[in-house]
């Protein structure tokens, strides 16, 4: 039959396969990793395959999944075999989730600002992020916030409150 190969695959179908392959190679359609799941990443993490966990979570994080962003940030923050420590990138993932309202990200980002890890040390920003996490019921963040606030001036506390309000409105 004209237009049909010996394998039974029509030339039209072969053309479509070519096209899909090309588009996948060009990045215009997602590759397999884009369909990865958070649970698969957790399973890999539990199994000690941190590189695989990173690769499972990265496309989800890029697609806006805050759980994956926080998990990825935690992986980069700790560093471990297969995933070199990268505090700056960890801070950026926390920030993306924090601005999206994720309380765990806000808490950890606040802590990074307090310690100056991956971001410049900034007690005002630290206080602001911790206050947002505390406002969402995070008790650890509330304790850390209280301890930090004690060491700041009233002007710094006011600046932190203003910053927090700005970020809260953005969310």
């Amino acid at each position: 039959m004209p237009g049909r190969s010996r394998t039974g695959c029509s030339s039209d179908r072969r053309g479509v396969l070519w096209l899909v392959t090309l588009l996948a190679a060009s990045g215009l359609v997602p590759g397999q990793s884009a369909f990865a799941g958070f649970a698969e990443g957790v399973a890999a993490y539990d199994g000690g395959d941190l590189r695989a966990a990173y690769e499972e979570w990265l496309p989800l994080a890029e697609a806006g999944d805050n759980r994956a962003r926080v998990a990825l940030a935690g992986l980069l923050e700790s560093g471990a075999p297969g995933v070199p420590r990268d505090m700056a990138t960890a801070a950026r993932w926390y920030q993306r989730a924090a601005l999206d309202g994720d309380a765990i990200a806000q808490m950890n980002l606040g802590e990074l600002y307090a310690r100056g890890a991956g971001v410049p040390r900034d007690p005002v920003r630290a206080l602001a992020w911790l206050s947002l996490a505390a406002a969402q019921g995070r008790r650890w963040a509330a304790r850390r916030h209280a301890a930090l606030a004690d060491r700041l001036t009233s002007e710094q506390r006011a600046a932190a409150a203003a910053l927090a309000e700005t970020w809260r409105r953005k969310n």
Binding site: V42, R51, A71, S78, G79, A80, P81, I104, N108
Partner: protein, 355 residues
């Protein structure tokens, strides 16, 4: 003979046309142009410097750091360590290679630190492929095969080397454990002596407790007050090859009977804190593994155990029958594999048990 129209519509030509369009479209979208050589040389961020035989601007390089829109740009001041490098197992110019580490420097293992000085990625290493002036630089176009090869068990040039980590067909080579630069190195810590494991755990314990406390879960803070049933940290193959210690609360005191513990009562709680060590001796906090016996009917599939995985940044990956339950489903599958007499509880090696 095929007409020109048929030729253009052929399965060979269509993809070529599409590819051409994709390439042209991509160039138009990014608006990138090729800089004149002089202009490029004056650019402080220019990775195309003539002296750099590893020119990352090569069009074929998926990690091209020149692309302004590229989030992997290693020139970015805020990005001291190009994340593209880690993803590329063959990247010979990985600036992260020598700097990868873990969270608690004070607890690093001296023996492994010393061994890591032999790290082929270290800046001070004469075989460092990033060193532009290095005659062993495997990036040199004129040098198809790095003369350092013989001394380098992971030489990417050695086509016949079964441990070659660059081999496309071998995403994770068997040299992994021994190679501190191996990007595939996954699953498990570097091996410590018992004395080293003891010392690292003692050093890391306060950091671990502080990390898990971020979760706001009572047991994540309280586990450290439970009785410890391991005499020291040991490698648990079923927990990612991490170093762990075993804790059990008062309701789970039968755990100390090990194989004869029987069925645990509701309220029994078991916990494992964990850490990892990389080949350079750097240590990092791992997750806290918790299991709690719940009343009958909670979940027959798990023998009524509730599993919780707490990550070191306070995020809870999942809890059986709670938020993210599917994320900890694998815990059930693994724990149910033990003999029924052990009530889904895994036991530690005899030599590490508290008697």
């Amino acid at each position: 003979m095929r007409s020109k129209k048929n030729l253009l519509l052929s399965t060979t030509m269509i993809p070529m046309i599409v590819l051409g369009g994709v390439v042209a479209g991509g160039m138009a979208l990014t608006g990138q142009t090729v800089l004149p050589a002089a202009q490029a040389a004056s650019n402080p961020c220019n990775p195309c410097a003539a002296a750099n035989p590893c020119n990352p601007c090569a069009a074929a390089n998926p990690c091209n750091p020149c692309a302004a829109a590229n989030p992997c740009n290693p020139c970015a001041a805020a990005n001291p360590c190009n994340p593209c490098a880690a993803a590329n197992p063959c990247n010979p110019c990985n600036p992260c290679a020598a700097g990868g580490g873990a969270s608690v420097t004070a607890c690093a293992v001296p023996r492994l630190r010393t061994a890591a000085l032999a790290n082929p990625c270290a800046a001070a290493n004469p075989c460092n492929p990033c060193a532009a002036a290095n005659p062993c630089n495997p990036c040199a176009a004129a040098n198809p095969c790095n003369p350092c090869a013989a001394a380098n068990p992971c030489n990417p040039c050695a086509a016949a080397n079964p441990c070659n980590p660059c081999a496309a067909v071998n995403p994770c080579n068997p040299c992994a454990a021994a190679n501190p630069c191996n990007p595939c190195a996954a699953g498990g810590s570097a091996e410590l002596t018992d004395a080293e494991a003891l010392k690292v755990y003692d050093c890391l314990f306060p950091t671990m407790k502080a990390a898990y406390a971020k979760s706001d879960k009572g047991d994540a803070s309280g586990y450290s007050n439970w009785r410890r049933y391991s005499i020291q940290a040991y490698v648990s193959a079923t927990h990612g090859g991490r170093y762990v210690q075993n804790f059990a609360n008062a309701s789970a005191k039968a755990y100390g009977n090990y194989e004869n513990a029987g069925t645990f009562p509701a309220g029994a709680k078991l916990g494992k804190d964990s850490f990892m060590v990389n080949a350079k001796g750097d240590v990092s906090v791992g997750p806290l593994f918790l299991m709690e016996k719940m009343p009958a009917g909670f979940n027959p599939d798990s023998d009524n155990w509730r599993y919780t995985l707490v990550m070191p940044n306070g995020a809870v990956a999942g809890t059986t029958n709670g938020e993210g339950s599917a994320n900890v489903q694998f815990c059930i599958g693994c724990h149910m594999a033990v003999t029924p007499e052990q009530d889904s509880v895994m036991l530690l090696p005899e030599e590490y048990r508290v008697r």
